[in-house]
Structures are given as structure tokens and as C-alpha cells.
């Protein structure tokens, strides 16, 4: 209990300190210390609670009223923020008022049921806490030096680091709230705080673009939040469940699915689907994906945070949480299809992008789509894959964002085309990026392990192999865009930007730890599965722990051998002949000087420049996005109407 309260409250308390401290060495040291403490705290929580699910009573007078007051205050604050909106953003205050109205109605009509155990912790919460505590802390670490350089690079921007770090820590605190809250009304407040925090962080640069994108993120997440509030309203006022106890709802949903058949399933399914709708918005699935792309305008640590350990992971968290209820239902199947379509389309769109951050954003949306697809299917195997995907994705994506941030500060560009020659100019950053990219798509690293498990599980889904087909088609462009990026990094051209100076120590710490974690999670995933994921799933579904694992033991061993090979092979590079016969590359003419110009036809000097393929004439970002939005809206509508099936 104490550890839980520490995780919940420490960052919130520290955020107040950072709200007043000016950006100096003392502040930075304090950020590092508190980040390290939280990381340690989450590890403690893992050691103490893994395998020991517990519920906690919070006996504090008027605590529920306190949360209700918080919700109302938050709504008021958001309404106040609405003075900055444009005419076409009229829907934002409407959504705020609608949500606040629903919550006030639930509370003030006296119908809001009491929840005996307001907090809980189980293996999945532990995993999420580790992600938030460790990856989130590393990003805070990174942010200290990054923000200094950021304002150095953008002198026109007002230095508002105090509010930045205030929100950053408050955000992390709320994330712990999301994963520990058992009372849905509490969870709702934490949920809205993450919406608010990301709104403020995205708008940090205070440019017109940033402001508009921040409002877009706010609007879409409020739409999701309305679903959440609707779910609570349904639980409280209709349907007859009369509880907002998260784990009771899940248990009831399981029993319901098992014994009562589908007769009464709407009672649980309607609120669950409504809340999953909120999860879709938060995890930036189509049709909501635009907010996450717009969020790119924010400083890199914000992107890293939104993509790896907070925000989108909150959406995924709630959907995974409800997966057992969704198992075998049509609503769950259509939810899975929303994820599957998102995976396919955004993977293809990512091919057309040359802005590194946008590639990463699309890849995040795609991978979250896969997680949603797994959770929507909701069998033990897919759930196993979903949880592991969440872990692997958090680590690799955090690494990649921070890597791109450091590269951007050094070479002055986030365009993939400018990353040519990174392997010779900045080998450290290049290796970090390659590890991150490998982690995202290639055997035997993390994401592929889960993708494989997904595929094997999708084929066994009772309706059709449609999800497996979506996965098959979506994986191909994934390979395309990652490999060509990696190709750019490993290519060795002459005359590319190297940039001045070294990467700051704080940034290196974060990068090195995450790179190590990317390899380590791939190497230790059997351990993670055995100690945490499999027991969690076994407990939920009342199956043997063995059956809960998505991969057989033999395959796990082969994966480890492959990983060993991947680690050992680069060592062979040391045995390379010291003095190979270097020749100039072939340019179809006589080479001149630095190996990148040649004498072409008619004796003219030609400069050879190379660019990657983006196939933008072949795949249109716009058309695919529109198609995705239309399809996903149709699927979501079908999902809602399939609740009664």
C-alpha cells in the first residue's frame, strides 16, 4: 500500500516543486533523483506484488467527493482554456460540458455506488508500473538536457520549463493512477488528467500549429472521454450492474461469458464497449489517429512519453484490461478489426513518410492497432501477445524517439534522408537507432515475437482468418519502411552533416539503458512471460499457466539462439582484414574527388545524390487516411450495434 501511494503521490508532490524551481543544475539534479526514486519504487512494487494480487481500501474521509471535485475543477479549467479555440473547434466546450454534466448527474443523484477497494495491483498493473516508472523516468532524465538544448536551438521560444516539468511529473503520477485505480470514477479522473496533460504539453511551443494540434488532441480525447463517462453512466443508472468496481466488472463479464451465454451480455458489454471506445481515442486508433500525428510538434521527450509509456498506453491498458470480457463476442471482433485495419493502413502510410518522427508516429499507431486487435479477440494467447507487445513497444519506441531527438539536435534535421552516413559520423547514435529499429520489426527481437504469437492465435479465431490476412499484408510494408531507414543509417556517403559536440550525458544514459533494455527484453521474454504475464492470464481465464503462453518452449529456445546469433555476428566484424582493397563506387562515369561526383555524358560534372523510395505516388497518405477513417467509423458503429448479438 505504501509503495502504491508513493508511486501515486511522489511525482504529484515533486511536480509542485518543479513548478517553482527555475531551470538550473539543482533542478536537474532533483529531476534525476526523483526519476530514479520512482524507477526504484516501481521495481520495488514489482518485487513485492508480482504474483500477489492485492486490493486496497482507501479510508479517507470524503475521498470520493475529493475526486468528484477534482473532475469538476478539471472541467472548469478546460472550459477556461477554451477561450483560445477557433470557431470550428466549437465541439470542444460542448464535449467538456457534456462529460461534466454526466459525471455530476451520476454523483449528485446519489446513485454513484461505493467501491470497497479503490486501489488494486495485479501482475498487469505491475508491468505497466514498470513501464511508466522506468521508461518514463528515463525520459525525464533525458528531458533535463534536451530542454536546455531545445531552448538553445529555438531562442525565439519563451522558456516555460517550469510548467513543462510540472506537467511532465503530474502526467506520470496520473498514469500510475490509471493502472492502479479500481474505482472507475477515480480512473476517469486520472484518465482526464492524462488528456489535459498531453493537451498542455503538445501546445508547449505556443506556435499556431502547436496550439491547433493541442486542441485537436484535446477534442478527440474528450470525445473518447465522453464514451468513458457514458460507460460510467450506464453502469450506474442502467443495466442493473450498479458498480464501478473495475475488477468486479471484469469478473462478472467472465462469468457471464462462461455460464450465462450471450443472453444478458449487454449489461456488461455496453459499458465495456463504451470505455473501449475511449481507449480507441486515447490510443490514437483510426479514426482518431490524427491527434497523435499532430502531437509531433511538441519537444521530443513529450513525443517519447506520449508514445512509449503514457497516454496511448493508457488507452491500450484499459482495452487489454477488458479483453477477457470481449472474448468471443462480435463487439470484440469488430473492435479487433478496427485495430487490424489501423495496423494495415498506417503501416502502408508509414512507407510514404520521410520525417523520422512521423514514421515513428505511424508505426506507433500501427502497433497499437495490433494490440487492440489482440485484445479484441481476447483469447489467452492473443492477450499474452498483447501484453508483451505493450512491453516491447514501450521500450523500443521510447528508444527510437529519444534517438531521433538526439540526432535532430546534432545534425539539425529529423529527415531520414539526412541520416545517411550516421554509422561513420556518429556510430553510437547509429547503433542505438539500429537496435531500436531491429526491436520494432525483425526476428528475433521483441515485436516480432509478439507478432508471431498474434498470427498463430489469429488463425484460431472462430470467425474467419481475416485478422491473420490483415497482419500478413501489414507486416510487409512494415519491413519496407524500417529496412530502408536502416539502410540510410548504414550507408556510407561522403559529405554528410556530423554536427558539433557530443551528445549530453543525460541523453546517453537514457539511450544506453533503453537500448540495453530492448535487447534484454528480447532475451528475457521467456522469464517475463513465466514470472508475470502467463500467471496473470492463467488467473484470468482459469487455465494452466503453460497454456497461457503464446509460444511453445521449443520455439522460445530457437528465438534465443537466433538472438545469440544476432549478438555474436557483429563480433565477426573484428576478424575483418585490416587493409581491404578500397575502390571508388561505380557511378557510370569517371569519379571525381570525394567519390560523390563523376564525369557524365558530354563531359559535364554530375553530382550523385541518393534518396530512398517513398512510393508517395503509389500509396497516397491522404486517400489511405480517408479510407481508414471511413472504414473504422463503420466498424465502430457496427461494434456498438453488435453489442446485443
Amino acid at each position: 500500500m505504501n509503495i502504491l501511494l508513493f508511486l501515486l503521490l511522489f511525482h504529484a508532490a515533486m511536480s509542485l516543486v518543479f513548478a517553482v524551481l527555475p531551470p538550473n543544475a539543482f533542478r536537474n539534479m532533483l529531476v534525476r533523483i526523483s526519476a530514479a526514486l520512482i524507477a526504484a519504487g516501481s521495481v520495488c512494487a514489482a518485487v513485492v506484488f508480482n504474483g500477489h494480487d492485492q486490493f486496497f481500501k482507501v479510508e479517507f474521509p470524503y475521498i470520493d467527493m475529493f475526486f468528484f471535485g477534482g473532475e469538476m475543477l478539471l472541467s472548469l479549467f478546460l472550459l477556461y482554456k477554451c477561450i483560445g479555440i477557433k470557431r470550428r473547434e466549437w465541439y470542444i466546450p460542448v464535449l467538456i460540458i457534456a462529460q461534466a454534466g454526466i459525471m455530476a448527474y451520476c454523483e449528485l443523484s446519489g446513485a454513484m455506488p461505493k467501491v470497497e477497494n479503490a486501489l488494486y495491483i495485479d501482475n498487469f498493473s505491475v508491468i505497466m508500473a514498470l513501464i511508466i516508472g522506468i521508461v518514463g523516468s528515463l525520459i525525464c532524465f533525458y528531458a533535463t538536457s534536451y530542454m536546455r538544448d531545445y531552448h538553445h536551438h529555438n531562442p525565439q521560444m519563451k522558456d516555460r520549463q517550469r510548467s513543462f516539468f510540472f506537467i511532465l511529473f503530474f502526467f506520470l503520477s496520473a498514469m500510475f493512477g490509471v493502472v492502479f485505480a479500481n474505482n472507475l470514477a477515480w480512473l476517469y479522473l486520472f484518465w482526464e488528467i492524462t488528456t489535459l496533460s498531453s493537451f498542455i504539453l503538445i501546445g508547449y511551443p505556443k506556435t499556431e500549429e502547436a496550439t491547433r494540434n493541442a486542441y485537436l488532441a484535446l477534442g478527440l480525447n474528450l470525445l473518447g472521454g465522453l464514451g468513458f463517462a457514458g460507460g460510467i453512466l450506464y453502469l450506474v443508472k442502467f443495466g442493473g450492474l450498479h458498480t464501478v468496481d473495475l475488477n468486479q466488472i471484469i469478473t462478472f463479464g467472465r462469468i457471464n461469458a462462461g455460464t450465462l451465454g450471450k443472453i444478458n451480455s449487454g449489461v456488461v458489454l455496453i459499458p465495456v464497449v463504451l470505455i473501449c471506445f475511449a481507449g480507441l481515442a486515447k490510443s490514437a486508433q483510426m479514426p482518431f489517429s490524427s491527434w497523435l500525428l499532430g502531437a509531433m510538434v511538441a519537444p521530443t521527450p513529450v513525443s517519447a512519453l506520449l508514445h512509449s509509456s503514457t497516454m496511448v498506453k493508457a488507452g491500450i491498458f484499459i482495452i487489454i484490461k477488458f479483453a477477457p470480457v470481449l472474448q468471443g463476442t462480435w463487439a470484440g471482433y469488430f473492435l479487433a478489426l478496427v485495430g487490424g485495419i489501423t495496423f494495415l493502413l498506417t503501416s502502408i502510410i508509414a512507407v510514404t513518410q520521410n520525417n523520422a518522427k512521423r514514421v515513428l508516429a505511424y508505426s506507433t499507431i500501427a502497433n497499437l492497432g495490433l494490440i487492440v486487435a489482440c485484445a479484441g479477440v481476447g483469447t489467452p494467447q492473443t492477450l499474452w501477445a498483447a501484453v508483451l507487445l505493450t512491453i516491447f513497444h514501450a521500450v523500443s519506441k521510447g528508444l527510437l524517439f529519444l534517438g531521433v531527438g538526439s540526432i535532430e539536435h546534432k545534425i539539425g534535421s529529423r529527415d531520414i534522408e539526412d541520416m545517411g552516413g550516421l554509422i561513420v559520423n556518429r556510430p553510437g547514435l547509429a547503433v542505438v537507432m539500429i537496435v531500436g529499429i531491429l526491436g520494432m520489426f525483425l526476428a528475433p527481437f521483441g515485436m516480432l515475437i509478439s507478432k508471431w504469437a498474434c498470427l498463430e492465435a489469429f488463425v484460431n479465431v472462430k470467425y474467419t482468418p481475416l485478422l491473420a490476412v490483415l497482419l500478413a499484408y501489414g507486416s510487409a510494408p512494415t519491413m519496407f519502411f524500417w529496412t530502408k531507414w536502416m539502410g540510410k543509417i548504414v550507408s556510407v556517403p561522403g559529405g554528410t552533416a556530423k554536427g558539433e559536440g557530443r551528445v549530453p550525458g543525460d541523453e546517453w544514459t537514457a539511450l544506453a539503458v533503453l537500448a540495453f533494455a530492448t535487447v534484454a527484453t528480447a532475451a528475457l521474454f521467456p522469464l517475463i512471460s513465466w514470472a508475470s504475464v502467463a500467471p496473470y492470464i492463467a488467473g484470468l481465464y482459469h487455465v494452466e499457466s503453460q497454456a497461457a503462453a503464446g509460444l511453445t518452449q521449443g520455439n522460445i529456445i530457437i528465438m534465443l539462439i537466433l538472438l545469440g546469433l544476432m549478438v555474436v555476428l557483429p563480433l565477426g566484424f573484428l576478424a575483418y582484414p585490416k587493409k581491404p582493397n578500397y575502390v571508388a563506387r561505380y557511378l557510370g562515369g569517371a569519379n571525381i574527388g570525394e567519390n560523390d561526383s563523376f564525369v557524365g555524358a558530354m563531359g559535364a560534372t554530375q553530382h550523385a545524390t541518393l534518396r530512398n523510395y517513398y512510393l508517395s505516388g503509389f500509396f497516397s497518405e491522404k486517400k489511405l487516411t480517408v479510407a481508414g477513417i471511413v472504414l473504422s467509423i463503420l466498424l465502430i458503429v457496427t461494434m456498438f450495434s453488435a453489442v446485443k448479438l
Binding site: W452, K484, V490, L587, G588
Partner: protein
């Protein structure tokens, strides 16, 4: 024990069979073009000669990737011939392919660079079909394991004719045959010179060639699986398939990458996906 034998046979014999296949390929191709053609062992002479040559490089990294390519092709075959998981085999093959592409990217030469991009396009074209093939085989045999699929008592082809057609289509890409020899053609006199392998010479080129032989045998292994219930028929099917591929190679002009990606995705969709949907509804 049997597994170990298979693995050893793969590692030791596959390059010889693959080289012979390449030799036969060249003779048949020559006959189709009314030439006599080289002796059947010519591919071996070529590779031995390459090993004797001095290896020139543009940078220190490039050959490293090609050795990784070879290693992973061999590992892939070990997984396949030891009866391992078919999906994992396909993923491992992709790893090998990625190393090949990285090797082609590394010298940053225009020709090999475009070759690398096109190789990636080719990979993007065939990857869905390979996965759909594995999915289809699982749905019929209820196993992901190659040994169980090979030991399936009925003719797999009878269940998966559409998947086989789709596979045949991308097999042309994978065997680097015209009309899909976009990334590196063995004819060095065209717009891309030698494409992805332009900057490789001597032993490195020999390594690439050997890896290619290995790969071809592995692909023939995939074909074998469709007919595995009767090994004589299966070997005959493999031979016929390869002959068809040679025939296609000699009768089609090279097509564009647009056509390659589009057509292989469509063929995979029309034949492969429809086929596995039928299987899903009929076998339950």
C-alpha cells in the same frame, strides 16, 4: 537423429544441388534460346573463380552484411529442414533478406542503392503470400511445424490450389526470374548494371551466389510441402515448377516495380486469401 541428418544434409548438400540446379537452368535456358549453353558444372567453376579473385570494397562494412545474409539463409534452412515452425522459417528468411538489402545500401552507390530499394519492394510483394501460405497450411494440417505438414496424409495442393498459384507467382520474384528480376539481374548489361550486387566482387560475390543457391533449394522445399504426401509426385512437382519458372523467365520481358507490387498483392488476395477463407468455412 533424423532431424540432425536433415540439417547436415541441408548444410552440406544444398549448395551442390542448388549449383546443379543453376547449371541445368542455364542449359535449359540456352536450349530455349537455341543455344548450346555451358556445361552443367559451369556455376561451380564461376564461383570457384570468384573465390580466387581479389575482393574490392567501397567501405569496410559491406561484405559483413553479405556474410550475415548467408548465415541467416543457412539458419533458415536448418529451421525448415529440421521440421521447425514454418512461420519462424519465413521470418528468418526475412532476416536474411534484410541483411542482403543492408549490404546493398551500404556502399551508397546509385546502382546498388536502387537495387536495394527494389529488393525491398520485392520483399514487400512476396511477404504476404508466404505468410498466407503458412496460414493456409496450418488451417488444413492444424500444425505450424514443417515435419507435421510434410507428414500430412493428404495432398495439400488439393486443399490449397489458390495458395499454390499465389505462391508460384511470387516464386518468380524470389528466384530472381524475369519478369520480376528487378533488383539484380544476372544480365549485367541493363539499366541497373548488376543492381544490388554492383559493388560486390570476388569472394563476396561468391558468397552471395552460394546463398542464392541455398535459397533456391529452400524455396523448392516450400513447393515440396504442397505435394508432400507422395514423395515421388512431390519431386516431380518441384521439377515441373522449376521448369515453368525457367519458361516464364524466357518468355517475359521485365515488368515495373509498380506492376510487381500491385499484381502480387492482388494475386495473393484473389487466389490466396479466397482460398484460405474457403478452407476456413469448409474445414471445421
Amino acid at each position: 537423429m533424423k532431424t540432425a541428418l536433415w540439417v547436415v544434409a541441408w548444410v552440406v548438400l544444398a549448395p551442390f544441388i542448388g549449383g546443379l540446379l543453376a547449371g541445368v537452368d542455364r542449359i535449359i535456358t540456352a536450349r530455349m534460346q537455341s543455344r548450346v549453353g555451358p556445361p552443367v558444372l559451369q556455376p561451380f567453376y564461376d564461383v570457384l573463380k570468384l573465390f580466387g579473385k581479389r575482393g574490392n570494397v567501397v567501405n569496410a562494412f559491406q561484405n559483413f552484411y553479405m556474410i550475415c545474409f548467408l548465415v541467416f539463409v543457412i539458419v533458415t534452412g536448418c529451421l525448415f529442414f529440421s521440421g521447425g515452425d514454418l512461420l519462424l522459417t519465413i521470418f528468418a528468411l526475412a532476416v536474411a533478406g534484410v541483411f542482403f538489402v543492408l549490404g546493398a545500401f551500404s556502399p551508397n552507390s546509385p546502382y546498388s542503392n536502387i537495387g536495394a530499394e527494389r529488393e525491398l519492394l520485392q520483399m514487400m510483394s512476396y511477404e504476404p503470400v508466404l505468410i498466407i501460405m503458412a496460414v493456409g497450411m496450418f488451417m488444413v494440417t492444424k500444425s505450424w511445424h514443417v515435419d507435421a505438414i510434410a507428414g500430412f496424409h493428404q495432398l495439400l495442393f488439393a486443399y490449397l490450389p489458390g495458395v499454390f498459384v499465389a505462391f508460384l507467382f511470387v516464386l518468380t520474384i524470389k528466384l530472381r526470374k524475369s519478369p520480376f528480376d528487378l533488383s539484380m539481374s544476372h544480365h549485367g548489361h541493363q539499366e541497373l548494371v548488376k543492381g544490388a550486387t554492383t559493388e560486390f566482387s570476388g569472394p563476396a560475390l561468391a558468397v552471395i551466389e552460394i546463398a542464392h543457391w541455398y535459397e533456391n533449394i529452400l524455396l523448392m522445399g516450400f513447393v515440396y510441402l504442397f505435394f508432400a504426401c507422395n514423395w515421388i509426385a512431390a519431386i516431380a512437382a518441384v521439377m515441373v515448377t522449376y521448369f515453368i519458372e525457367i519458361f516464364i523467365d524466357n518468355t517475359f520481358a521485365r515488368l515495373t516495380w509498380r506492376f510487381t507490387v500491385k499484381s502480387s498483392w492482388i494475386v495473393a488476395g484473389v487466389f490466396g486469401v479466397v482460398n484460405i477463407f474457403c478452407v476456413a468455412f469448409l474445414i471445421k
